[in-house]
């Protein structure tokens, strides 16, 4: 089978699937991307460039769409050269919304197209208007509507879609939901597992918490309101006061991955450190970590905090659960899909730093009470999100779509 993956990033959601397919010598796996770094055994990378940059004069609602079209055109051109040499894939699996699958049906009208659908934007009821502190203007509402254009084009053009969670799938227009299967990208539960008694030592960062009994962890790509960073930092103030031996480890880059920057040019980290007085000898910002170090953090965690607006669920929460962490999560829809309060984790009010802190302190004070929850957290991941289970489902669906047995 000739499989073509599409993602601006590499390998993004597709490392395991693309490698698994590449292991079969009958398959040819090509991965078209704009990211130069990285390689996977057996996976042929096809680098393409955006056709050009969008113009500043374009209507501001259309700026990102222009970018999407230019990405799609860049990909089209690179692939057209391959096609001229005779390459026609049996299946295309692409990440939707950034323009890569958009023109594939024009280039390869007879090749089945599968898309990964992460999110459909709504002005109301999910991420955009979740925080009453940042209400939407009519202009925001209209802009958010237009943001869905490339996704709608992919929705109607594709033969089949995949969303990682039911919550995410439920964002898409009801007319398309039947087309979208829910299969998670998969959590590698073999690599990520509990390690009782693990201690956190990262020599290259001079971080040695081997003597520390209480480690509160927080992981996110950036530091921003979308993932509850401000209220988490506020809760850290309460936690450090109440638990004098507790340390806090924050993994992530000092940037905004989702949502807006602060108007004054400060990062949220800077802003929060200025407003919340903290004992910085017990607060450790690691920046982004290599995979093995990141897993060490999870394995050494006493309490892991995961907060999110109703938005795309992070891998980190599921990976923390796979490592047997006690997750204190926000009581928001994507988290509720996985965590049942008191059963396999704890749920707290997203907005309340005090309640987050109280819950974390409660867990730190009664560590034995959480043992069963930690076990069930790992079980939940093994049952519903483990790569071992998801990968065969993904491959089966891909093969079914490739064989034309899925009617668009």
């Amino acid at each position: 089978m000739k499989v073509l993956f599409l993602h601006t990033n590499f390998p993004a959601q597709f490392p395991h699937l693309s490698m698994a397919l590449a292991r079969d010598p009958r398959n040819q796996v090509i991965f078209a991307t704009t990211r130069e770094e990285g390689n996977l055994p057996g996976v042929h990378k096809l680098l393409f460039k955006k056709h050009r940059e969008p113009r500043p004069e374009t209507h501001n609602y259309l700026h990102s769409l222009e970018n999407v079209v230019l990405q799609g055109q860049g990909l089209y051109r690179s692939l057209a050269k391959l096609k001229a040499k005779g390459f026609v894939p049996d299946i295309i699996y692409g990440h939707a919304g950034w323009g890569l699958p958009t023109f594939m049906k024009d280039l390869y009208p007879n090749t089945p197209l599968m898309c990964l659908f992460e999110w459909f934007y709504h002005a109301h009821g999910t991420d955009a208007d979740f925080d009453p502190a940042t209400p939407l203007t009519p202009d925001d509402e209209c802009r958010i509507r237009i943001k869905n254009v490339p996704i709608l084009i992919d929705l109607y053009s594709c033969d089949c879609g995949i969303s990682p969670t039911y919550f995410q799938q439920s964002q898409f227009p009801p007319e398309f939901r039947r087309k979208i299967s829910v299969i998670h990208d998969g959590i590698d539960t073999d690599t990520i597992h509990p390690l009782p008694g693990a201690k956190l030592v990262i020599p290259e960062m001079n971080l040695d918490l081997s003597g520390v009994e209480e480690v509160v962890t927080y992981v996110a790509r950036g530091m921003e309101p979308y993932r509850g960073f401000p209220q988490f930092m506020e809760s850290v103030g309460h936690i450090l006061t109440a638990r004098p031996a507790c340390h806090v480890v924050i993994v992530g880059a000092d940037r905004v991955a989702y949502g807006r920057q602060l108007p004054d040019g400060k990062t949220y980290k800077q802003a929060m450190l200025e407003t919340v007085p903290l004992d910085m000898s017990r607060v450790h910002f690691t920046g982004l970590l290599p995979r093995n170090r990141y897993i060490q953090v999870l394995q050494a965690s006493t309490v892991h905090v995961y907060l999110t607006r109703p938005f795309v669920l992070s891998w980190s929460m599921l990976e923390a659960m796979a490592a047997g962490c006690l997750v204190v999560g926000s009581d928001t829809a994507p988290v509720r899909e996985v965590i049942e309060d008191g059963f396999n984790g704890r749920l707290v009010d997203f907005f309340s730093a005090q309640k987050i802190a109280d819950c974390v302190i409660d867990v730190l004070e009664n560590p034995r009470a959480t043992t069963a929850m930690r076990v069930r957290a790992r079980e939940a991941i093994q049952e519903r999100y483990a790569l071992r289970k998801m990968l065969p489902l993904q491959i089966a669906l891909l093969e079914k779509v490739a064989s034309g047995r899925v009617k668009p």
Partner: protein
């Protein structure tokens, strides 16, 4: 225009907001009749400055111009957004006055409907869905004279953007024909009801023995025994104008007394203009040899003049790419014309060959002429087809049947969300 149709009650007071770039567009019958009903308030947002309908509060919105630097694929959507924003601004004035519509019904594709759900989140939105563009299988790759390149194909995919947004956002949709609904992504088919706008069968009824005299156009065909008619908004390949004109040249040679009347403007409505700046009419007249004393171009006509042409027609020719079906074909049939139509899906949805009209190969002027001549020669055989044509319209496209159904649909939309 709505004479003879009585609707006095829609079950309580209602506020209706219409949106159409043109005025009144497809709502030419629905808007006026609703406006006459007691307890119904009708507002109509449009870009057209001219035209009024009694009882309809017309509000003009003026969209900004797009920038020519925008990516070519996105210019259409940029225009739509500008239309949508301009309509939003005017509609928010209505909202401030306290006019919250119970139902919004808008024509989709030009953008005016785009942001109505943001302004009136609780009001049901019904969209009129005319067309969804496909690079292959309908109008755009139909004519081998105009092949598509890769750039065209990609642009066509993006062209549907504002329609897709409306499809997802609306509470219900209307397409005028099954063929037109069939163009939309199948996921949305169940959301779209097929209702034709309706043909005014009392206005467009047969009137045998009409002679064609159009004083304003200086046309007097009194006594003409053979009159072939053709009607379109413009003169272009999409409606088979080049093929028709080739047919006319043949026809004039074979039927020395036959007159041809062409109604429409010398412009393109849907197709690209010719590169050398010529119109398709000029091109056709240069290419062929015509007896111009028997070929009459009327230009744009009033409804009464247009109806007179249909009344006097011996054979009416209607050719179209697989695209939106024109009202004129149905109005011709409603007048009892013998329609020689192209054997393309929108026409086949209405005409069955030799039953209520004739079907010919779109690309074959020879077949077209043979069929026209049969129609001219055998008036007895065609009388039955003419009658069937009228009955088809009465049965399936009659305004008197369709208007109550359209209104019932609006009421249902209000009740469902109310």
């Amino acid at each position: 225009m709505t004479g003879g149709i009585n609707l006095t009650d829609v079950g309580g007071p209602m506020r209706i907001l219409f949106l159409h770039r043109s005025f009144p567009g497809q709502f030419r019958y629905l808007a006026p009749i609703l406006a006459q009903i007691k307890d119904i308030q009708v507002a109509f947002l449009t870009t057209w400055e001219t035209g009024e309908i009694p009882g309809v509060r017309k509000i003009v919105y003026r969209p900004q111009q797009g920038t020519p630097l925008t990516h070519g694929y996105l210019r259409g959507l940029e225009n739509s957004i500008n239309y949508g924003q301009a309509a939003y601004r005017e509609a928010s004035k209505l909202k401030r006055e306290g006019f919250i519509p119970d139902v919004i019904i808008g024509h989709s594709g030009w953008g005016s409907t785009l942001f109505m759900k943001d302004l009136f989140p609780k009001t049901p939105l019904i969209c009129h869905f005319e067309w969804f563009y496909r690079a292959h299988g309908s109008s755009l790759d139909f004519d081998p004279a105009f092949p598509l390149n890769a750039d065209n194909e990609a642009e066509i995919r993006i062209k549907n953007s504002s329609t897709l947004l409306d499809l997802a956002a609306c509470d219900g949709g209307i397409s005028p024909t099954i063929w037109q609904r069939h163009q939309f992504p199948r996921e949305f088919h169940s959301k779209i009801s097929v209702f034709h706008e309706g043909i005014h069968t009392r206005m467009f009824k047969p009137n045998p023995g009409t002679e064609l005299v159009l004083p304003h156009q200086g046309i007097d065909l009194t006594g003409a025994q053979e009159l072939v008619t053709y009607v379109a908004t413009g003169m272009e390949p999409l409606r088979g104008f080049p093929q028709f004109m080739e047919g006319v040249e043949l026809l004039q040679k074979r039927r020395p007394k036959c007159h041809v009347v062409v109604v429409g403007e010398d412009r393109v409505e849907y197709c690209n203009p010719l590169p050398e700046g010529k119109t398709y009419k000029q091109l056709a007249l240069e290419k062929g040899q015509f007896d111009l004393s028997r070929l009459h171009f009327t230009g744009r006509l009033s409804v009464e003049e247009y109806r007179r042409v249909l009344w006097a027609s011996s054979v009416h020719v209607y050719l179209t790419y697989p695209f939106i079906l024109s009202w004129s074909m149905l109005e011709a049939m409603s007048c009892g014309c013998l329609v020689v139509g192209s054997d393309t899906p929108p026409v086949r949805e209405v005409i069955e060959d030799n039953i209520n009209g004739r079907l010919v190969d779109f690309f074959s002027p020879g077949q077209l002429v043979a069929s026209i001549i049969e129609g001219l020669e055998d008036r007895d055989a065609t009388a039955r087809m003419r009658q069937n044509a009228r009955e088809t319209i009465l049965d399936r496209y009659d305004l008197q049947k369709l208007l109550p159904r359209q209104i019932a649909m609006l009421q249902q939309a209000v009740t469902r969300t109310g």
